[in-house]
Structures are given as C-alpha cells and as structure tokens.
C-alpha cells in the first residue's frame, strides 16, 4: 500500500508539473493546485501509514496508531493551501486584467526592463 501511495504521489506531481509547464494562466493555477495535493500526500505517505487514527481515548493510544506529526503538518498545509490558492487566483485575475492576455510566454516582455546600474563604458 505504501508503494501505491508513492506511485500516486508521483502521478500527481507529474500531472501538476505538466500543467505548470503549459502556457495558459489557467493551467498554471490548476497545476499548482495538483502540486499542492501531491505535496500533502508526499508528507502524509512519507510519515508512514496506519489505519487507526492518532487518538488516545482514555490515555492509551490506539494499537498501531498513526504518527500525528505528519498529520498536523498536512492539516495546516491544507488550510494554507486554501489561502495560497485564493491569493494565486487573485493574482491571476489582476494579471489578466492588467495585461489582457492569459498566455504566459506572452508576458515575457511585459516586465519593465531593469535599470542599468552600470552604464557601459564609452569606448
């Protein structure tokens, strides 16, 4: 089963990577969402899996209880992921509104050129 989770993680990473490498803004958002899931699954699966929750009703841990630490990490990661997704969407909205284009390579020239700190020496 651990192997299965590992393979699933790889699958999500591959799909997310594929998406973030596409040229559409929308794909970028979706890809980051998938990568977020993949990261959660990675931490969760890497911590070792167990079918009984990390509870101690009455003070004694359930037999074979899971490790609560990866779960705590993933829990905050899920909520942070929500915040990040919201921010990313807001950013995407603003970028599309400002640039009028959702084609990522098309944005290349949109950045103002860097100030030239050191003027070239006159020959």
């Amino acid at each position: 089963m651990s192997v299965l989770l590992a393979v699933l993680t790889g699958l999500l990473v591959a799909a997310g990577t594929w998406l973030v490498l596409q040229r559409r803004l929308l794909h970028l958002v979706l890809g980051i969402g998938l990568l977020g899931h993949a990261a959660n699954l990675l931490v969760f699966a890497a911590g070792g899996v167990s079918e009984s929750p990390a509870f101690a009703p009455g003070g004694t841990p359930l037999p074979g209880a899971a490790d609560p630490l990866p779960q705590a990490l993933v829990l905050t990661a899920i909520v942070i992921g929500f915040g990040a997704t919201a921010f990313l969407l807001a950013l995407a909205w603003r970028a599309f509104r400002t640039l009028g284009d959702d084609d990522l390579p098309g944005w290349c020239g949109s950045e103002p050129p860097l100030e030239d700190d050191h003027p070239e020496p006159r020959p």
């Binding site: 699954l41 990675l42 009703p57 841990p61 609560p68 899920i78 009028g100 020239g109």
Partner: protein, 891 residues
Amino acid sequence: MGFALAVVLLPLLAALVAVPSARLSERFAIILTACALAGSAACALALAPAALSVPVEVLLPWAAPLGPDLALRADALGVILATLVGGVGACVAVYIGGYLHGQAGLGRLLATLLTFAAAMQLLALADDPWLVFVAWELTSVCSYLLVLHTRTPEALKAGTTALLVTGLGGLVLLAGLLLVQQASGVTRLSELGAARDVLLASPLGTAALVCVVIGCATKSALFPFHFWLPGAMAAPTPVSAYLHAATMVKAGIFLLARVHPGFGGTALWEALVGGLGALTILAACRRLPLADDLKQLLAWSTVLALGTLAVLLSLDGAEAALAAVVLLIAHAAYKGTLFLTVGSIDHGTGTRSLARLGHLRRAMPWTALAGLLGAGSMMGLPPFAGFVAKEQIKLAGGGWLASGSLLLSAVALVAVAWWVGIRPFWRRRADPTLQPHESGPAIIGPALALAVLGLGLGLGGAWLLSPLALRAAADLAGQAIDGGLPILPTAWAKAGAAVLILALGLTAAWQRERLAAATAHLPRDLCMRAWEAGLHGLVALGRACIHVTQHGDLRGYLAVTLLVGAGLAAPGLAGLDWTIAAGPVPLWMWPLCALLTVGAAVAAFARTRLAAVAGLGAVGYGMAMIFLALGAPDLALTQVLVEILVVVLLVLAFRHLPELRAAVRPERRRWLHALVAVLAGIAATGLVLAAQQQQLAPHLGDRLIAAAWERGLGANAVNVILVDIRALDTFGEITVLLLAAVGVAALVAPGAEPRLAIARSPILAAASRLILPLAALLALFLWWRGHHQPGGGFAAGLCLGAAVVLVAVARGGVAARRTLRASPLAWAGGGLAVAWLAGMIGLVAGGGFLFPHWLGPLGTPMLFDLGVFVLVVGIVVMSVERLLEAEEGAA
C-alpha cells in the same frame, strides 16, 4: 604601543565626529581634522627612536585558535610614511578650509579624508597580510568617494575606472600575499627577509612575486595601469595633492619596498619591476608635452616619479634603496607644494590652462614663492630635498636601461617643474581676460609650509633625514650603508652631471611646442582603450549570459529547476530498494486510485474550464477519502471543507479567464515538458519510498500521542499538536493566512457596482437561510470537541465559512456581510487577536507565550483554537467575496 595605536586611531576617531562638527562650525571641523592628522604625525615621530633600534610592535589577537595575530610594526620605513601621511594631511586639511570654504558636503569630505588617513596609517604600520589588504582596499574605496566629491559625470567615470583598476589589483594582491604566506611559511612581512631562501625555493614563489607586483602596479599607477591616475584628477585639488601625489599612490611602492627583502635581487624582480618602471617613465614622458592642464601635467609627472621609484626598487644594493626612500620623501614634499600652488592659481584665476596663464607673480606673489620653492626642489637644485634625492639617485647604479630611464626622468622633472612652478608666474605673455588675485592665508600657508619642509629637509638633509632613511634603506637592502646621504659641499664638487640634466630639462621646457608636435601623432591611451575594451567585453559577456539564462519565461525557469531537483535526487534514488514488499492492498484502495488518476488526467488535459475544475475537485475528494481510510479523520474533514471552498473560488475566478479551447499560439517542446513531468513524478515517488524505508524514530508517534494526553490533556493528538505543542507554528500560519487574504483584497478591487454574475436562485437563497444556523451549530460543535475528537478550529472555521459563502453566492456579498454582523477583515483580525490573547495568558500566568493553562474543561488552547476558528471564517469570506464581486473582463 600606545603611540602606534594612536597613529591609526586619531584620524579614525576624528572621522567619526567630522560630519557633526562640520555642521556645527566649518572652522572647528577643519581645525579638528588638522589637529588629528598633525597628532598622528607626531605620534609617528615619537616612534622614530624605537624604529632605529627595536621597532615597536603591537599584536592584536584575532581568530585565536585558527591563526596568527594581527600585527602592527613601526619600523623606519613605516614611520617615514606615517609621518608624511599625517604631516601632509594636516597641511591639506588647512588648505581645504580655504579652498572649499563654504561648500556643501565639507563635513563628508573631511570624514572621508580622515578615514583615508587612518587606512593609510594602518597600511604604513601593518605587518601581516590581512591588515595590509584591508587597509589597501579601504584606501581604494576612500579614493573613489573623494574623486566623486564633485559629482560630475567625468568624476564618476574617472572614479569608477580608478576603483575598478585598484580594486582588481587589490584582489590580485590578496592572492599574491596569500601565496607569499604559503610559499614562505611566515605571516609577518618583516620576517620575509629571513625566510627569503624558503620563499624563492618554493614553486609558488614566482607566482607570488608576479601577483604582488601586479597588485602594487595598479595602486601606484605603473605601466600598464598608469591611465587611471590622470583621470582621478577630477577630485578637488587638495585631495589630488594628498591622495594622488603624496600618499595613496605611494602605497604600491611602499609595499614593493616591504617585500623587497624577500624578492629583491632576483632576475625576475629586476626585470618585472624595473621594466614596468622604465615603461611607466616612457609613457609619462610621452604625454607630458601634450598636457595643457596644470593638474594633468602634475599627474603625469607623478606617474613619472612612481616609475622612477619602481626602477630604484628594482635595483639591488643599499644605495638604490636609500635613493628610493629619499625620493619618496622629497617627492611628497615638492609635489604636494606644487599641487597646492596649482590649486591656488585655479582659485585666483579660474583656469589651469598652461597656454592662458602667465605673469602671475605680481598678482600672486606668495603663490609664486611657493611655486618657486616647489619647482626648485623638483628640479633637484640645491639646497632642496629634491637635490639630495637626485644626488643619491646618481649613486644607485644599475644597467644602461635603469640609468637611461632615471636620466630621462630627471630631465623630464626639470621640464615639468619649469612649466608648473615657474612659467605661469614669470612668463611675459598671458591671457589678458584673466583677473588674477592672491589667495588667502589658508591656501598660501599650507603650500608654503610644504615648500619650507622641502627646503628644510634639503638644508638639514644629512642630519634630519639620515638616521631614519639610512635605517629604512638598510632594512630594505638587508645590508648597512657606509657613510650617509650626500650633503651640500661634497655634492657641489661633482655638479657636472647635475648641470647637464638641468640644461637638458630647461631646453626641453623651452621647446615644449616642438616636443608636442613631435609626439602628437603617436597613438595615445592604448592601455586605457584596451582596459575599456576588456570591460566592454565583460559587460557584453554578462549580457549574453543573462540573455541565455534570464530569458524571462517562467516555464523555462521551472523546467530547469525541476530537472535539477530530479537530477539531484537521482543518485539517492539509484540506491533505493524499488522491490519493497508491496503488502496487501485493501480492495477499497483501487477505486480511490482510479478516482485520483482520472481526476488528475482530466485536470491536465481538459478542454474546458469546468471540466478542469471538476478534475481538480475529484482529486481533492479522493485525497480526503485516502485520509479518512488511513487514520486521519481530521485531515479528511478539513480536506472536504477546503475542497468545497476551492471549487467555489476556482469557478468564481475562472469565469473571468478565457476558455481553455480559445486559441493560443501553438505549443513547442511538448515532449520536453512531458519528459520533465515524468522525471519529476519519478523523483517524487522515489522520495516517498526513500522516506518510508527510513523510519528514523518509529516510536515518536506513540510518544507524541502520550504526551498529548498527559501534558496537553487531549485525546486528539493532531489537534493538541496544533493548538498546544506546536502552537507557535500555528500562530505563524494563521498570520500567513490573514496576509494572504489581505493580499487578495489588495489585488482584487471590487467592481464599481458590485453585481452578481451568477443567476440568483430562489431555492439556493432559501437553502442558505436554512443551512446557515445548522452550519453555525456544527462549527461550534466541531470546535468544542476538537480537543478529543476529530474537529478543531480549522475545520470549524471552514464549516461556518462555507455556509457564509453559500449566503454570499446565493444572495450577494452584502447579505454575507450582514450575516457576519462585521466585515470579514474584522473577523480575521479579531481571530488573530483572540489567538494572541490566548498566548499572552501563558506569558502573564507563567510558562511563556502560548503555554497552556487549564481551568476544568476550559483552557487557553481552546481559546487559541477559537481564535483560529474566527480567523478562518474571516479569511474564507474575504477571499470568496472579493472574487465574487470582481469586475469582469480585461481592463
């Protein structure tokens, strides 16, 4: 020891107070600067008696277990340089008071000047490579700041060139000093003479010699780096007099003298130093007749003198060493005098053009006197210091190349002295439009003081100069000198050569126009042009590299980053046991796998926005089910609630973005992207497997659960970790959440008329009314039981947030805000405040920030979790509301 430190610290301390004191009173700042520098010179002189017998040493422990101490050593040569730096500096400081009177930035100028003086004094006394290097670089930086004082484009260009040349040279010098240390095994410059055999026998010795000489050549403007010095004349004249004639440019010569006991006498040293010196003399002589600006003339004559010093240092024997030491002193005095004279001319007439100036002796008698005295010394006339130097140079010996270049230099110095010190005052013709007037005593005084110093050193040369100079030369050459410096009566007897040099020099001065015509057609500024071409090429190379690596395409960066990451993981994955026992896979796992795979595939390849969102949602719910099945009910609960909200967010935002089918330019390199994706996936799989095969602390989980029960008083270990054990992390995370929501609010301005793009459904509106109270109850229940059962503040906040979002979607943002009774931002901020309050209770009641305190079933972790709850409601509503009411279409 106290004096040695005071030599360096006096200018440094004065530098610290220079700016505020200049704001208080300009006169006070000038006096302070002059006194600090004069005091520094006096302290240096106080070290002189010891320098003649056993030099004072100061050892400062530094990086004790690693290496040797920082060392100061006041030997004869160091004392001579330090006295010059302090004495000339004091004169220049007074001069600045007259020359730059009332100008803005005077305090800054004085502070930089004092810092420079401190660095120079440190260099004079430093005896270990590290202090030498630090002081060396500091003088370069100070020179840059001082050249830039006028802030003209020319000054910027010249200052930058000087900084780059001397800075690069400094790096080469550092390499050289380290090589010297490696090769000789000693860390003190004063021990180089003793370690000479080891140094020269080492294979690193040659490289060390070349590096040190190159470093010194850049600083002392030796060929082929001589071009920066005339450019640096953009600095104010007193600064030029101080840095670019009397002191800083001598640093390279000084360091050459310092390493002379180690390298001197070898064939390579003689060829390299002597060759560079001779070429420098030639280059300067070539340019002298063409210069019309008096400062340029003086700059080229400084280059000339530096070349002469290099030639003298390349020669073996004590007489040559003595000649170098005496010339160093005499040059500082007469060149300083002439620079200050030129400054006075500039001040009194407004021009420095040789062609326009003349007949100034009536209008500027005192300046004329200073010029006369300086020129006399420079020409090597008795009874000036220059005469002693010139007579000693005659004794230096050397081959035809050295003798010839020394003769050439002596002749050229006579000519320059005539042009600068005599001609402007005594020439009959002059530009009639000039209206010269004499400068004030603050300008004349320092110039005359330096001139009289030159005179005094010459008159009393044998007695004043002899002991220190002889000792310095003896240190340099490694052998004592018979006799002393040439003194007047004996030298008069063999004045023939001196008369010849004088005659040649005056002829050259007289034939200036003819010399200029003869040299005008020769190619000029070759070294400068080569340097600039090299610099240009470097910048072009940098641009080319940036063009390739910084192309601006985000996806390219990502692909490279991911590939590098996968590549770094590869060696670890190669050693992995891929055949790990898979174990029995429960039946329910297969449909989940299918759901995730199909969801991911749909998200990746969908042709419509809605399908892509559905695919991503499917993945999210699949994740929730995996969490539920594998002992993580809290995660499952949170994931389901988040998934609801994320899908809402995606739909709200995606309606503004173009449909996926809409035409885009064709994609290139798809196969490359696919390859990167597959490799990244394999690396991730391997990473999980590697982590699973290395269970570092298998019992940590059980111990955490036990600790959660015993110390956190909770059965749900995940929740206890969040609100108690690692509560500070959670506090940071909710702060980040708040910031993200504020970011959303900042990025998405609400439309002019908030309107709902989604058709309002009466059924949805009615349902939202029903669901809201139920959801609120459920949220409170989740929060309350979270400590012992699945639930907690995050889940509770998401639950209530989702219900309010439903209200917002069904009835509009205004209705949602009315439901909340306060703005979402107030909820979020209030939540953070409550969490902070829970932490402060721990701080006040003891135990520290966020330390838990319990009162029956109620405790501060519960309060903290309440804060999380309220904050999450706020940020959820804030984010969704903004995207809901965002203006449509592109701007």
